[in-house]
């Protein structure tokens, strides 16, 4: 008899609405500031108004005596607490001691100086005003290039050159390539300091009860935080619990351990009551890490036919005054990815990490890769202009071929898989590139300024093999089938808006033959979830997903053994939520198998009771998503304002688990890229005062400031993991800014404009138009 086997309809690959959302859309979710406890106190932090100063004295007497205040602590009180940790290591790295409250000196505006603990936040705020600090103000430096100039004020007196580290990497024979080049193009390109601006600011609640310290923190890395804060406070790690409630966005800014987590732990232990600290937006801008902060000097070597030969980079990284968790490592990611999607066989890069009297920079969405992509994509356009070549053609000519994977780059990486021409050609088709160029010519003839900008990007994500990361690059998952057949997944990745409660449920439901509703995904509590690394660097699905997959495969072995026992067969298989005896056709459902495993009346030989498996998955390599973005812009000749007329994003993030969520990630990423390209910039004045200190001066995009994004995909599975996924959290941001800038430069190129640094403010562009107009 012929049997037709219909492949069960999978949930993976479907646009499925999120499991997370019911609590979020009804206002019943719990973020850190929503936590209330009996006897809870509130802490407010006094911060330095100066970028550099010695502290002569601090008088906390009046504040301590203010009604409702229970304690005031200064640097002297927390001398026993370890420094804020830097997890990155580089040869010769200078690491300043980063105490959780300033001792005798402050290094940036916002540097924490004292903490007031009071009955409520109103009283704590009042008491802050009563603390008197006598500062001896010192000269400051806020610009990395100025910091490196002779005679600049020393951020840390022990290192008068303000150099935290230098780093050199090269591959191939860059000098030879440049000597042999027919064309060399040079450009200074900056990636300005940005403020991540998660809509929820940071916050910490700490409680010390019966010898157990619990810290609730809005973080991307609960387990790493537990380890590091335990070390800072000197408490046993198994008596510290870190809980991550709902997290209102992170974008890298919560991939960190800050002074406040340890400080609140310290306060909770001192006062014996729970304590809450919620960062104000102003504090968030002054004290939570910033991103980017590059001054890059690029050189590209090529033949006249457009073949690229070599790339050189001198990278000056604005580090700020301290190293936060990964600060010095971020620019090294730029160097790794500087060749982009192209066959650059000869590269050379030098990084200088410069201390400045500013808040530290660290990982912000893309972390090093947007800077690299911006650099190489601007350089490819500059080369195209130099050679009077089409920017699409020059890219297609130099792409690594689809048949060349895995591809060993000159920077030591092995690109996993790719077909780089595919998304570019698709994007060109979507915009109808040929006609668009004709339209542009007509616009130009009519005196209008229209531009078409391409960007093709590759990114390194799914961090990552452990030897390449500071704290382990694996991820963990536990999957349990409860006695009633319901499935619980615990992931060590700690998502914060990405939607893994949904995508992981899709994976688990498919693999175990249950419904989405049967699966619950738990994360973000070190007392419940096995040790994990966290969500950052587009690794949630790309590393956490395979960990889950492998945990399920382990569990399936057990399911089959119990199934075989229950079916009394030695030939069973498991699919669609049933164990089937391949001889008799008899079946037993998962719930019955699970029930039997816990009831344990009888066990398969050598098996333990229960139905649970845990897997720690170590990825063999990074994954390398890629894509092509095209921005069509029109510039208001009179004012310099840029309007994005069309934005096309074709991304390849490998296998797509949930297209709805992938589109959401791309849209959000692109809009953060548009923010960098057009609007955002953290502005410090020469004295280290942050002038964009509030949302009234730092312009993150509003709904009316961004275009409709035409999002599309190609799907090139990654061979690195069994799901074929690559990661998509940062792709939009990485691909976006060069597309917009290339488009605007394209619109102005006939006026002699070669390059514009971000953000492309109307005034900056108007000045270029005015200069060109006169010429």
């Amino acid at each position: 008899m012929a049997t037709t086997i219909t492949k069960p309809d999978t949930l993976v690959g479907k646009r499925i609405k999120r499991k997370e959302d019911p609590r979020l859309i009804t206002g019943t979710a719990t973020y850190v500031d929503d936590i209330q406890m009996p006897g809870m106190h509130h802490a407010c932090i006094l911060r330095s108004p100066h970028a550099a100063a010695r502290i002569r004295s601090i008088n906390t007497h009046a504040a301590a005596g203010h009604p409702g205040v229970v304690a005031v602590f200064t640097g002297a009180d927390v001398a026993g607490v370890g420094p804020v940790p830097c997890g990155a290591s580089l040869p010769g790295l200078r690491v300043p001691h980063h105490s959780i409250l300033a001792k005798d000196r402050v290094y940036f505006v916002g540097h924490p100086v004292a903490v007031v603990v009071a009955r409520d936040r109103y009283i704590a705020t009042d008491a802050l005003d009563l603390i008197e600090v006598d500062y001896d103000v010192l000269p400051a430096v806020a610009d990395p290039e100025k910091a490196l100039a002779p005679g600049a004020p020393a951020v840390h007196p022990e290192w008068p050159d303000n150099i935290a580290f230098t780093y050199h990497q090269e591959g191939g024979e860059p000098d030879k390539a440049f000597a042999e080049a027919e064309v060399v193009v040079k450009q200074r390109i900056t990636s300005q300091r940005l403020i991540p601006t998660a809509m929820e600011t940071r916050g910490v609640v700490a409680e010390h009860r019966a010898g157990q310290l619990t810290i609730w923190s809005s973080t991307q890395i609960p387990h790493l935080m537990r380890t590091l804060v335990a070390m800072m406070l000197g408490v046993p790690e198994n008596l510290l619990r870190v809980v991550t409630p709902e997290v209102g966005g992170g974008f890298g800014s919560k991939l960190n351990v800050y002074a406040e987590e340890a400080l609140m732990g310290f306060v909770a232990m001192k006062i014996g009551k729970p304590v809450k600290w919620i960062e104000s937006r102003r504090e968030n801008y002054l004290c939570t890490i910033h991103g980017r902060g590059h001054v890059d000097y690029y050189e590209i070597a090529a033949r006249k036919d457009g073949t690229v030969l070599g790339l050189k980079l001198k990278l000056i990284q604005d580090l700020g005054a301290y190293h936060q968790l990964l600060t010095p490592a971020i620019p090294t990611l730029s160097v790794l990815m500087m060749p982009g999607l192209y066959r650059f066989r000869n590269v050379s890069a030098d990084i200088i990490g410069a201390f400045t009297n500013c808040v530290p920079t660290d990982a912000y969405r893309g972390a090093g890769r947007p800077e690299a992509t911006h650099g190489v994509e601007r350089m490819m356009d500059l080369l195209a202009v130099e050679l009077k070549a089409d920017p699409a053609e020059i890219r297609l000519k130099n792409f690594i071929g689809a048949d060349e994977f895995p591809y060993a780059t000159a920077t030591g990486l092995s690109y996993d898989s790719g077909d780089y021409a595919k998304p570019l050609k698709k994007a060109l088709d979507i915009v109808d590139y040929h006609h668009l160029r004709q339209e542009q010519a007509r616009a130009k003839a009519a005196g209008r300024l229209m531009g078409v900008g391409l960007s093709t990007y590759g990114e390194i994500c799914a961090f990552g093999p452990s030897p390449a990361t500071p704290a382990g690059g694996w991820e963990s998952a536990t999957v349990k089938v409860e006695p009633t057949g319901k499935v619980t997944v615990m992931t060590g990745a700690s998502p914060h808006g990405q939607g893994e409660e949904t995508t992981f449920a899709q994976i688990a439901a498919d693999e175990l033959g249950v419904t989405m509703d049967d699966v619950t995904v738990i994360h973000g509590d070190t007392a419940v979830v096995q040790y994990g690394i966290g969500t950052f660097g587009s690794r949630g699905t790309a590393v956490g997903g395979p960990a889950l997959y492998f945990a399920i495969q382990e569990l399936k072995k057990k399911i089959v053994k119990f199934g075989a026992m229950l079916l009394d067969s030695d030939d069973v298989s498991f699919s669609g939520g049933l164990c089937v005896c391949n001889k008799s056709g008899k079946t037993v459902p998962l719930a019955a198998i699970a029930g039997a495993s816990y009831r344990a009346m009888k066990l398969p030989a050598g098996e333990q009771p229960g139905m649970m498996a845990t897997y720690f998955w170590e990825p063999p390599n990074f994954a390398f998503p890629f894509g092509a973005h095209i921005a069509v812009t029109e510039i208001d000749r009179d004012t310099g304002q840029v309007a994005i007329k069309r934005y096309v994003a074709v991304d390849d993030c490998g296998k797509i688990i949930n297209p709805l969520l992938v589109d959401g990630q791309v849209h959000g990423g692109v809009v953060q890229g548009i923010g960098q390209a057009l609007y955002e910039q953290a502005v410090y004045d020469d004295n280290g005062q942050l002038l964009t200190g509030e949302l009234t001066d730092y312009a993150i995009p509003k709904a009316s400031m961004v275009p409709w994004i035409e999002s599309s995909h190609t799907e090139t599975p990654s061979p690195v993991n069994p799901l074929g996924v690559k990661g998509v959290g940062e792709a939009g941001t990485i691909g976006c800014s060069p597309a917009v800038v290339n488009s605007v430069v394209d619109a102005l190129s006939h006026l002699g404009v070669r390059h514009i640094d971000m953000p492309l403010t109307p005034e900056r562009i108007w000045k270029l138009i005015s200069a060109g107009g006169r010429a």
């Binding site: 109103y122 004012t639 609007y679 964009t692």
Partner: protein, 276 residues
């Protein structure tokens, strides 16, 4: 971000409000869209807030003697959506719709904005262009002042201590008048980098400018040039002449001057296209 302690009163009559205001360190709360953020940042710390939202007679729009009387506590949204204003003083309605965002327009009031005299606020440009008047009440009396006389300088008005701005009076636009408010906004705050309100009738034009300098002003020279030449470009180019322009991280003085001329031309052209 918590403001310092203060006393709060919500008087039910104007007389009561005036009496409360007379006592020392009091400040009128007329929507609070500028005042409350300043208080939360502790840049402002009045000893008492006198909330005018419950004083009868301070809201609403009524037509009387060829003029429209707008109560000081009328919100930007009420101005923006008022059928009477849209028909009879469209410049004010259009300008109101450009202020801040919907939540701000729901709470912010025309009187609060006028009395605050923020150099980048939208309303003043329109109030100058329509030759608005303001009514100011004090204990035992009331006076009416042209808005152009009321507005003295950056955050400085002719309001005497103890006085309350109770209303704004704008003339009913004659048939055939054309108006437009054109604004380049600062993307973060929504305030005007430069805003230009133009009103054309029978070949004569009035131009109110905000954001460009320390206070909003009538571009008299430009109005004159237009009256003489009917040349939009020439008139617009005169708007920033001789003005000490503001400069900040969002726009330099030079750029503001340039944008003022561009937006003046746009406002003039739009107003002309609507005029008959």
């Amino acid at each position: 971000m918590i403001s310092q302690s203060f006393e709060y009163s919500a008087p039910r009559t104007l007389a009561e409000a005036l009496a409360l205001l007379a006592g020392g360190d009091a400040k009128v709360l007329a929507g609070g869209m500028s005042l409350i953020p300043m208080m939360k940042l502790r840049l402002a710390a009045p000893g008492r807030l006198v909330d005018l939202s419950r004083v009868p007679g301070l809201t609403g729009i009524r037509e009387q003697g060829g003029a429209l009387h707008i109560g000081a506590m009328t919100t930007h949204y009420e101005v923006e959506s008022s059928a009477v204003l849209r028909a009879k003083c469209p410049l004010l309605a259009e300008t109101a719709s450009a202020i801040g965002d919907v939540q701000v327009r729901n709470m912010g009031t025309i009187g609060g904005s006028a009395a605050h005299a923020d150099p980048a606020a939208d309303y003043p440009a329109a109030l100058l262009a329509v030759e608005a008047k303001v009514t100011l009440a004090r204990k035992g009396g009331e006076r009416t002042l042209a808005f152009s006389d009321f507005l003295i300088d950056t955050f400085t008005t002719a309001l005497e201590p103890g006085e309350i701005l109770t209303g704004v009076i704008v003339p009913v636009e004659p048939a055939g008048a054309g108006v437009s408010y054109q604004k380049m906004l600062q993307p973060a705050s929504g305030f005007a980098i430069v805003g230009v309100a133009a009103r054309v009738h029978n070949g004569s034009v009035r131009i109110g400018v905000t954001g460009l300098s320390g206070k909003a002003f009538r571009a008299a020279a430009a109005e004159k040039i237009f009256a003489e030449t009917r040349d939009v470009q020439k008139a617009a180019a005169a708007v920033p002449l001789g003005v000490e322009a503001n400069s900040d991280i969002h726009a330099s003085a030079d750029y503001r001057r340039h944008v003022a001329a561009v937006y003046a031309a746009r406002a003039l052209n739009a107003a002309l296209s609507r005029a008959s």
